[in-house]
Amino acid sequence: MKCNWATYKDALALGSYDITHHLVMYFLKPIEQGLDVRFLAGIHRGCLRVQAGVKTNIHTIQDLKGKRIGVPGMGTPPFVFANRVFGTHGIDAGKDITWKVLPAGELGLAIDKGEVDAVCNAEPIGSLLIAEGKVRNIADQIVDEPYASEYCCEVIANGKWVDANPHRAAAATRALLKGAKWVETNPKTAALLAVEKKYLASTPELNTAALARLRYVPSVRLAEESVHTAGREMKVAKMLAPETDTEALAKRAFMHLDGVSDEWIKSLQVETVAGGQVSPDEDIRLIAALIQKDTEDSCCRRQMFDQPDQEAPNLADPDAPCLSKTMIAAERTQ
């Protein structure tokens, strides 16, 4: 069921659809405020990053204090991730950082122009900026602890629906977990299938490069721990209320279902499709090919950056109008 990004959280809570998998950090604050949805299992790790321009002298998280950071939107997953990183490193993201909201596809341009010193983003933007030689990683969710050991996306379902249909919810969760394991085994085939079936507005090259970097190793125990960790750090970063009991919040947010366990996941076998894998060298070549294919005036460059971090209308909605760079510039000057 194709949904609009702008109403995604509310649509799940209101029962417009039953289940999906999505970003933990994106849902925790609404759950704190009463949204009745439940996390059920972990799908994948590692899509968010904080990166500094290569021409800056920023090499550590502490170096970002007092700097300007480009972000695709306040409250978006990259913004929440950056706030968590700053919160645990004693940096007040509200006072010590100057945030600049930019379209995700223009974060690199803002680095080039010196409008920002650093950016925070989600895949595939991070990989593209690295491949273009514009940035260096400062915080990387797939590498740095505790983020490397936690899920950014988990299976999440409508609370009332799970309570009324526990067996159906468990079956759907297992189906998604099996899909995740299949993606890990055959990332190239999975990326091509998603583009071919028009699930997203991307290219086979970009989607393959982006998927190859993510780790689809599903789990239940680690998924539950991830909700606890994210809650604790979001509270430190002042993104959850100071009076919130994050352990109680995580307990309320995560639900165990019969037949959905790490033992079941371990026993799960998926087929290996010939030619469906991506070697590290091939990953780099794919990104390089993509950069060469893209041109500066390509308005659809933004459309390819199929991100979970943009405000609607955005690339998450292929039907949304494609804005040209001149239109975006005009909007900024108004």
Binding site: M1, K2, C3, N4, A6, T7, Y8, D10, A11, L12, L14, G15, S16, Y17, D18, I19, T20, H21, I43, C47, E123, P124, C152, C153, K160, A164, N165, R168, A169, A171, A172, A175, L176, L177, K178, G179, A180, W182, V183, P187, A190, A191, L193, A194, K197, Y199, L200, A201, S202, N207, A210, L211, L214, Y216, D306, Q307, P308, A316, D317, P318
Partner: protein, 93 residues
């Protein structure tokens, strides 16, 4: 209708009681208007997804899987394909 009958029925009542009756009538109208507004807002919010009305009941046999169209949602089309192969229509995208 209610407003008229209240005022006419209390033709000989004091101005105070008539005022109370009119106020109460306005309250009913306000509550009704709020109800209509809330209902309209809910309908608009629910329209955020391309909804399949056949599968909207909480105890429906189908599972409605939502997606936005993101890179990381790759398991969703795969799951659908697997279910299609098995001719299992219990998952609905």
């Amino acid at each position: 209708m209610q407003s008229t009958s209240l005022i006419e029925g209390k033709g000989s009542a004091s101005i105070g009681s008539t005022y109370c009756a009119i106020s109460k009538t306005f309250e009913y109208e306000m509550i009704f208007q709020k109800f209509i507004t809330a209902a309209a807002f809910t309908v608009l919010l629910l329209a955020g997804c391309r909804k399949n009305p056949a599968s909207s009941a909480p105890h429906s046999n189908k599972v409605r899987v939502g997606y936005v169209g993101l890179t990381c949602e790759a398991p969703i089309p795969l799951t659908r394909k697997a279910f299609s192969r098995r001719r299992d229509s219990s998952l609905n995208w």
